[in-house]
């Protein structure tokens, strides 16, 4: 083994600077899950009857799954069994007063926490051009620029508020893309989800700023179960960003979210994620189990949904942001960078379901494995008989750092008509000693050389991220791989 391979291997000391814990008084339910817990969550949120009914149906379905098959076992990941009765399903920071959250009612410690994370929420310091919904453990604590967006008819608020203020929209679209019967974690989420973000873009409106949700897990022993629902009406456009971090703890914490997107005729939704949950330490202790269901539906002709994800955190990532290309001429895109270092495991990819005619999909997946990380791309391209002239292009590249990590690719391609075309390209490469030497000969340090080469590898994905996020993602990869080479 050459020196540089050896040093690449020494990917032990990953600095996770978001790993702090905030000391915040919380309203927390005892661990465990039963119908009473669900009724309690629903009651705490003063939900209308239809919500409780839906949650209970989901819970009963989940209980059945839990008794029968249990969690999905097909993913290329291993972890000890999860005891769902030991998880806290609701933990919310205590309100300073009654009534709807306004910033001066938010615990200053919470504002401090988000400021420390680089997400200032107060009027004066807000990020320009980005509206943020800040979710702390089970609830949304603040949403910025809400009023400004409302002038255009754009609804951007916490899910809880949407249930109160826009019950008709919630009832119409909740579960319309990811039904609670979809899978084990989607069922669990549907039963217990406590908050999340809701966006509604009216017909013809081009949302003038990035909408963003920042998810923070803080409480110990709790899971985070949030739901995001975005509805883009005819001819509208929205770009949505999602970021996440959690404290460093020795036990694993479950994050099981559901995201549903609906794009009507000619609408476009761009959904970007920079996922940086705590990944566990070098020995694989602790870290978030990120078991997430994300799906979008192109419900109207010519609709377009793009998923861009940069997955650098979590002990285990299990997610497949997908697009149902229901309407003719609709477009689905999936751009992904997944990094696994230390003992991290990722089984991630997408599903492109071509139902309408002339539908097109593009999949660009970049997997980076280092240390003893295990990285799996799993993707399904299904072109149904009616989807004539459908097109798919898939490109799956893996980059290996060191020789103890793994990269796997499981592409499933099903084409049911003769006029359609699916292309699949795949490659596996290593950072070569020659590349490192070339960069060093031009004066770059080993770390800078590695991060430059990796950024080059990820370029096709990063260019799809909004500018601020691209910078953050680039930095994040740099941090994640710091010390990966001597």
């Amino acid at each position: 083994m050459s020196t540089s391979t050896k040093t690449l291997e020494a990917l032990a000391t990953r600095d996770y600077k978001w790993g702090f814990v905030s000391d915040i008084e919380a309203d927390t339910l005892p661990p465990g899950l039963n119908e009473d817990v669900i009724r309690l969550i629903s009651a705490k949120k003063a939900e209308p009857e239809f919500m409780l009914e839906w949650r209970l149906r989901a819970y009963r379905h989940w209980s059945k799954l839990a008794r029968q098959a249990g969690e999905p076992k097909w993913a290329n990941v291993t972890y000890p069994p999860i005891d769902y009765q030991k998880i806290v399903y609701y933990s919310a920071p205590k309100r300073q007063g009654e009534g709807p959250a306004s910033l001066d009612q938010v615990d200053p410690k919470l504002l401090e926490t988000f400021e420390k994370l680089g997400i200032p929420l107060s009027e004066q310091k807000r990020l320009a051009g980005v509206a943020v919904d800040a979710v702390f453990d089970s609830v949304s604590v603040a949403t910025t620029f809400k009023e400004k967006l409302a002038e255009l008819g754009v609804v951007f608020c916490s899910f809880s508020e949407a249930v109160q203020n826009h019950p008709d929209l919630v009832q119409k679209y909740l579960g319309s893309v990811v039904p609670y019967t979809d899978n084990f974690y989607a069922a669990l989420n549907s039963a217990v989800f406590s908050d999340g973000s809701f966006c509604y873009i009216p017909r013809g409106v081009r949302c003038p700023m990035e909408l963003s949700t920042y998810f923070r897990i803080n409480a110990a022993g709790s899971g985070q179960f949030e739901r995001t629902l975005i509805v883009a009406e005819e001819g509208s456009y929205v770009s949505y960003l999602e970021g996440c971090t959690a404290p460093m703890r020795d036990e694993n914490q479950l994050h099981a979210a559901v995201v549903e997107l609906v794009a009507q005729e000619g609408a476009q939704i761009k959904y970007s994620t920079v996922q940086n949950w705590y990944a566990g330490d070098a020995e694989g202790r602790g870290g978030i189990f990120n078991f997430v269901t994300k799906r979008g539906k192109c419900a109207g002709r010519g609709a377009r949904i793009s998923w861009t994800q940069v997955e650098t955190g979590s002990a285990i990532t299990w997610k497949y942001p997908s697009v149902i290309l229901q309407a003719d001429d609709s477009i689905g895109e999936f751009y992904s960078v997944a990094l696994t270092a230390n003992r991290q495991q990722a089984d991630t990819g997408t599903k492109m379901l071509h139902i309408g005619k002339n539908t097109r999909s593009t999949i660009i997946s970049k997997g980076i494995s280092a240390g003893r990380g295990n990285n799996t791309y799993r993707g399904l391209v299904r072109i149904l008989p009616r989807a004539t002239n459908a097109r798919n292009y898939t490109q799956c590249d893996s980059l290996l750092l060191g020789d103890r990590c793994g990269a796997h690719t499981f592409p499933y391609i099903e084409v049911a008509n003769a006029s359609s075309l699916a292309e699949h390209e795949a490659s596996t490469s290593k950072i070569s000693d020659e590349q490192l030497f070339y960069c060093k000969q031009r004066g770059l340090s080993g770390d800078n050389a590695v991060s430059m080469i990796i950024n080059g590898f990820c370029k096709e994905v990063f260019k799809n991220l909004p500018m601020e996020f691209a910078v953050e993602a680039t930095k994040l990869l740099g941090v994640s791989l710091e010390g990966s080479i001597g």
Binding site: S2, T3, S4, S432, D433, E434, Q435, F437, Y438, C439, K440, Q441, R442, G443, L444, S445, G446, N448, M452, I453, N455, G456, F457, C458, K459, E460
Partner: protein
């Protein structure tokens, strides 16, 4: 500037350079010539610090420092530049981004402020003209999909931009058509100043028609067997390397 004493270098356990001596002073251009397999590239790579080349003996002093004790990046930051015989591809990284990073690493090493993107572009545009490449060259990924000639010109562009104190060109002239050769030679001549030095490692005399060396050395079987002025290159071109071998053998 550079003093190589008794240098021996091996690769994968095989000795390539044996007890090599070479002195390079500021302002000089040295041509190191020799047949295939004589150790020319090994010399270039070892001076730049390639990890695959193991120094088994001797010492090298560069600007008063122990060169062999320095990491490859520190050698680069001290102004040593190697134009690679086979330039390496870095997919997805644009020439401009790569050069910006290199420029600023070198500046930081000299205690200078970072150049911002605009300043870097201005510098790059100016230097691009030297290698007769258009600006689109900057947006292309480093060496990826480049023709052989483009790769060599890219090395010269990097050299022009990074303005090294000691430039080592490892067969940069090989495989070039006459126009590209002139461009490469032009780049070398422009670098030529009283305060820096150039080592041209080459198999052929051809480039020496455009870059006039102060000294010509002939490397055979891992050591320098003959050193003389520029006329030696012409003699080699006429008589071939066997002549040198025979002469060395007789001596």
């Amino acid at each position: 500037m550079l003093s190589i004493r008794d240098l021996s270098v091996g690769v994968e356990g095989k000795t390539i350079l044996r007890h090599l001596n070479l002195q390079v002073r500021a302002g000089e251009v040295h041509a190191v010539m020799g047949p295939n397999g004589s150790g020319k590239s090994t010399l270039a790579q070892a001076l730049a610090g390639h990890p695959a080349y193991t120094v088994t003996g001797g010492e090298v002093t560069y600007l008063g420092q122990d060169l062999l004790a320095m990491s490859p990046e520190d050698r680069a930051r001290a102004g040593l530049f190697l134009a690679f015989q086979y330039p390496i591809e870095i997919p997805g990284v644009s020439n401009a981004a790569f050069l910006k990073a290199a420029i600023n690493e070198l500046r930081a090493a000299r205690g200078l402020d970072e150049l911002d993107a605009m300043d870097v572009l201005e510098l790059l545009h100016e230097k691009l003209e030297l290698v007769e490449m258009d600006r689109s060259f900057l947006n292309r990924p480093v060496n990826e999909g480049f023709s052989g000639g483009e790769k060599k010109r890219n090395e010269i562009l990097q050299m022009a931009v990074l303005a090294p104190t000691l430039a080592i060109l490892d067969e940069t002239d090989s495989g070039l058509d006459i126009d590209a050769l002139k461009i490469v030679a032009g780049g070398v001549n422009r670098l030529r100043r009283p305060d820096n030095a150039i080592i041209l490692v080459t198999h052929y005399q051809r480039i020496l028609q455009y870059v006039e060396p102060d000294h010509v050395h002939v490397l055979v079987d891992g050591h320098i067997v003959k050193s003389a002025g520029k006329e030696l290159a012409l003699e080699l071109e006429r008589k071939g390397y066997d002549w040198i071998r025979d002469e060395v053998a007789t001596v």
